[in-house]
Point group: C2
Chain length 164, copies 2
DNA sequence: TAAATAAGTCAACATGGCTGACATAAAATC
DNA sequence: GATTTTATGTCAGCCATGTTGACTTATTTA
């Protein structure tokens, strides 16, 4: 209705396109995490555990503070899941070589195994989507997702992901 | 390190590409919901309320069972947020015309206002990402996201979104 | 008339965010 | 060398939102 007054008819199409992105993002994100959630439940874990496993697998030796920066949660929230992962033998903490206050994080063999199991189902789904959509679509997928990330978020992930 | 032993160099690129999609999806989804979450908090609402507002705005007159089907949550979970939205005057429930057991959902003026406020910030961010990425990228974005959705999920959203 | 369906409700539990306060060890600074 | 800052950990409690299970009411369908 605001559209009628605004006199910019192209806005209709535009809004429809924006809404489509918003909804697809919601449904895709949900289904992308569906199977991993079921697997995690077998272990008494949740999505938060998965994130820790993912980023520790991604950057072995990651400091706790670095992980906090990536996840953008409080240390109390992280502590809860990290503690469980360490106690159950999925994550190992060493003492920092340069700075002995730090506790660099590593996956144990058991942790690597679970991480691979979880990421396998996500990678398979992602691979299927890539295959169905084609290489050009994949490049566009990355570009738009990157554009959705906050300015400081883009900065924070620079070490992980180069600008697509 | 496992990679060095595996001897399948083509796998590197592929896995890197899949991981990139997985991580970008995580960061983009998080930031996409950041500002709306803050706005919702002003009203004492959460993301679940936003979803209800979104889909009721999207399909006025939606039956409760249809909303449950789209959101894929239990009616007890929905009940909690729907009740609040109705009590606080953001959502209105009528009695179904054809089937009087149904309670078609509509946004009140107040509800529409909030929904527009929430969707505005998401649409602005999405528009910025579209603009930065270009029209071709947007098409690819849709195609890959669609491919990430479960087979039955694709079915369920047919009424909302045509296959990109 | 009986059975199925749409919606609502109560209770209890789990996950994973949050704030606030405080403790310890190590590094950095004065 | 003493002090301050930093990295990490911990306790306690709150909130939002998902779950299961059991049960009710009104209405439609068979």
């Amino acid at each position: 209705m605001a559209d009628i007054k605004s006199g910019t008819p192209t806005l209709y199409l535009r809004d429809e396109e924006l809404r489509k992105g918003i909804e697809l993002l919601y449904f895709a994100y949900r289904d992308h995490n569906g199977v991993p959630d079921e697997i995690l439940a077998e272990y008494g874990f949740g999505r938060a555990h998965h994130r820790v496993l993912h980023f520790v697998a991604r950057s072995p030796g990651l400091a706790v503070s670095e992980l906090l920066g990536v996840l953008r949660i409080t240390k109390q929230s992280l502590s809860r899941v990290l503690k469980e992962l360490v106690e159950k033998g999925y994550v190992r903490q060493e003492t920092g070589a340069r700075d002995r206050r730090q506790r660099p994080l590593y996956l144990t063999d058991k942790g690597s195994e679970l991480e691979r199991r979880l990421s396998a189902v996500q990678r398979e789904r992602m691979a299927r989507a890539y295959r169905e959509a084609g290489a050009e679509a994949v490049a566009g997928f990355w570009r738009v997702l990157f554009g959705l990330i906050d300015a400081d978020g883009r900065d924070a992930i620079k070490t992980f992901i180069e600008k697509p």
